[in-house]
């Protein structure tokens, strides 16, 4: 039996599969259930300083096995989120607090709160493609990204992950600006939209959304590969992982761990246990004894 355990930024993971931010992670009891289904860690929904309703529905379009979403960073506000983390922490596995803001000071406030609530790491959402003033608008400005990461790293002890966007002209430049982070999370959704031709109208209330799921996997693989090759830093791969083959492909491209989001829509929560068990068989068949032995093996 291969050893599926791995670690990212010093955080030990029972297997390389974590829950991605924004999918089944606003309610502590749901996070508990996702962990009970085999996720090694969960990333919370991105939380900001103030309560936000986000966009009104439709906030999601089904596009085959992929999705286009414009949830709009709905969240209860950091002060209302302590309980959810407390509940999720009962599982005894890492809980990573995802945060969004528009400046370094607010990111730092949020990061300190997440640490105080008991999060094992903080993930910076520098990449949401559909909310003005947040996410991508922050994450495409290298000076601002550097300021945010530097400031936050100087104030908190838990590791900091920088989640980057594929919707920028030069991801390597942004990755370098965020190099003080302990690991990168690649990628967030790809800006997209859907028009209903009978209604003659965009479906999403926000018009634009973010594409996720199998449709973006090749883009994610390419970024993980390129950023790993250029920076050598630890990476958490995310984007379209639906099968054990997808997860292994990300790991061979350079990811030390992966996150799964959209596939919960097609496969349900049991995907974590299923992918982990098939990864194990693959590793035995292919003669890999540890996850570490596969990380980046495809890089030329």
């Amino acid at each position: 039996m291969a050893d599926l355990s791995t670690s990212v930024a010093g955080i030990r993971l029972e297997n390389p599969l974590m829950l991605a931010s924004g999918i089944l992670d606003e309610n502590g009891y749901t996070m508990l259930d996702v962990i009970a289904n085999g996720a090694a860690a969960v990333v919370t929904k991105s939380i900001g300083l103030e309560e936000r309703n986000g966009y009104s529905a439709p906030i999601i379009v089904e596009y085959g096995d992929s999705l286009i979403n414009a949830v709009g960073l709905s969240n209860p506000g950091i002060d209302n989120f302590a309980d959810e983390i407390r509940i999720a922490k009962k599982a005894g596995r890492p809980v990573i607090g995802s945060i969004f803001a528009s400046d370094a000071e607010s990111f730092t406030k949020l990061g300190m709160k997440m640490q105080e609530y008991g999060c094992d790491a903080v993930e910076l959402n520098l990449s949401c493609p559909h909310v003005k003033g947040f996410g991508l608008e922050v994450g495409s400005d290298p000076d601002l990204v550097e300021e945010i990461v530097t400031e936050l790293k100087s104030k908190i002890k838990v590791p900091v992950f920088a989640k980057l966007s594929p919707n920028v002209s030069d991801m390597i430049e942004i990755a370098k600006a965020a190099e003080k982070a302990d690991a990168y999370v690649l990628i967030n959704t790809v800006k997209a939209m859907k028009i209903d031709i009978r209604a003659r109208s965009p479906i999403l209330t926000n018009v634009y959304g973010g594409l996720s799921g199998p449709a973006i996997k090749p883009v994610g693989i390419r970024y993980v590969y390129e950023v790993k090759k250029e920076t050598g830093k630890e990476i958490i791969g995310v984007g379209g992982i639906t099968t054990y083959e997808d997860a292994i492909e990300y790991i061979m491209a350079g990811a030390s761990a992966v996150q799964i989001g959209t596939a919960l829509y097609t496969k349900g929560k049991s995907i974590f246990r299923d992918v982990a068990s098939k990864m194990n068989t693959f590793m035995d068949d292919e003669g890999f004894s540890r996850i570490q032995d596969m990380v980046g093996v495809a890089i030329r």
């Binding site: 089944l24 259930d33 089904e62 949830v71």
Partner: protein, 250 residues
């Protein structure tokens, strides 16, 4: 999205309208659809008729449901679905317990062996009382303006529920919770259809969750066993922002 044309409408009570339409799709009793009115919004609706034609029965709460209640034959709307698990219907004598618009998801279960408790705040809000023979129906209103004066769980004290093979319940969560407690004490076999804030309808946004279960995907129908001991049912839920609020039932 699937384009639908309203074929016929029928007023059920003040601010409650059934919209009949054609949709060539197999649907189970208790399943729901997401209804989109471009420019206005999208909301979950149970199917109140699942054969040909199908129908939704809408009570006006806010802007989208009000626009549906105002809908006329020939007008269009868009849907996706069907979603959710639906009821597990067992043959034999059945009791339906519906509160307000909750009757909509129960109506497709009704057959010649079905009795119904139909409840509402007041007489004017009762729906579907004409769909059952008089000897099979029990009415309850909060204000006593029709039928039993009180809540469905109190009316249950007056019935012998042991004659029913299974009991199917849908309505506001405080009502479901009280009925669940009562039926638990009576050891009855029962299923409950829940309504919570719903945004995606496909099990990813977490806004509808109850104790780790997604109402849109693992529900909306849950057995009495699944709800007994659920850490959130009848206790707390999350709002549109994700903020936890308490129902103060206990």
């Amino acid at each position: 999205m699937i384009k639908i044309v309203a074929e016929k409408v029928r007023d059920e009570a003040k601010n409650v309208r059934t919209i009949f339409f054609r949709w060539d799709q197999e649907v189970r009793a208790g399943q729901f659809i997401m209804v989109w009115l471009p420019g206005l919004g999208e909301i979950p609706m149970s199917l109140s008729y699942i054969g040909t034609p199908k129908a939704i029965t809408v009570k006006a709460y806010g802007s989208v449901s009000q626009a549906l209640v105002d809908m006329q034959p020939g007008q269009e709307f868009y849907i996706r679905g069907p979603y959710g698990n639906g009821f597990q219907i067992d043959p034999g004598r059945k009791l339906l317990i519906g509160g307000g618009s909750g009757m909509a998801s129960l109506l497709p279960i009704a057959d010649s062996e079905t009795d119904a408790i139909i409840s509402a705040k007041t007489k004017d809000e009762l729906i579907f009382t004409d769909r059952f023979p008089e000897n099979r129906i029990f009415i309850a209103t909060d204000d006593g303006s029709a039928g039993f004066h009180g809540f469905p769980h109190e009316l249950l004290d007056k019935l012998d529920v042991s004659v029913y093979r299974k009991i199917y319940v849908c309505g506001p969560e405080p009502m479901l919770y009280r009925v669940m407690q009562k039926l638990s004490d009576l050891n009855a076999s029962a299923e409950f259809s829940l309504e919570r804030t719903m945004k995606c309808g496909i099990g990813i946004c977490d806004s509808c969750s109850v104790g780790g279960l997604q109402v849109c995907k693992q529900g909306p129908v849950f057995t009495i066993e699944q709800l007994r001991g659920n850490p959130e049912f009848g206790i707390s839920r999350t709002t549109y922002s994700g903020k936890r609020v308490f129902l103060n039932m206990k």
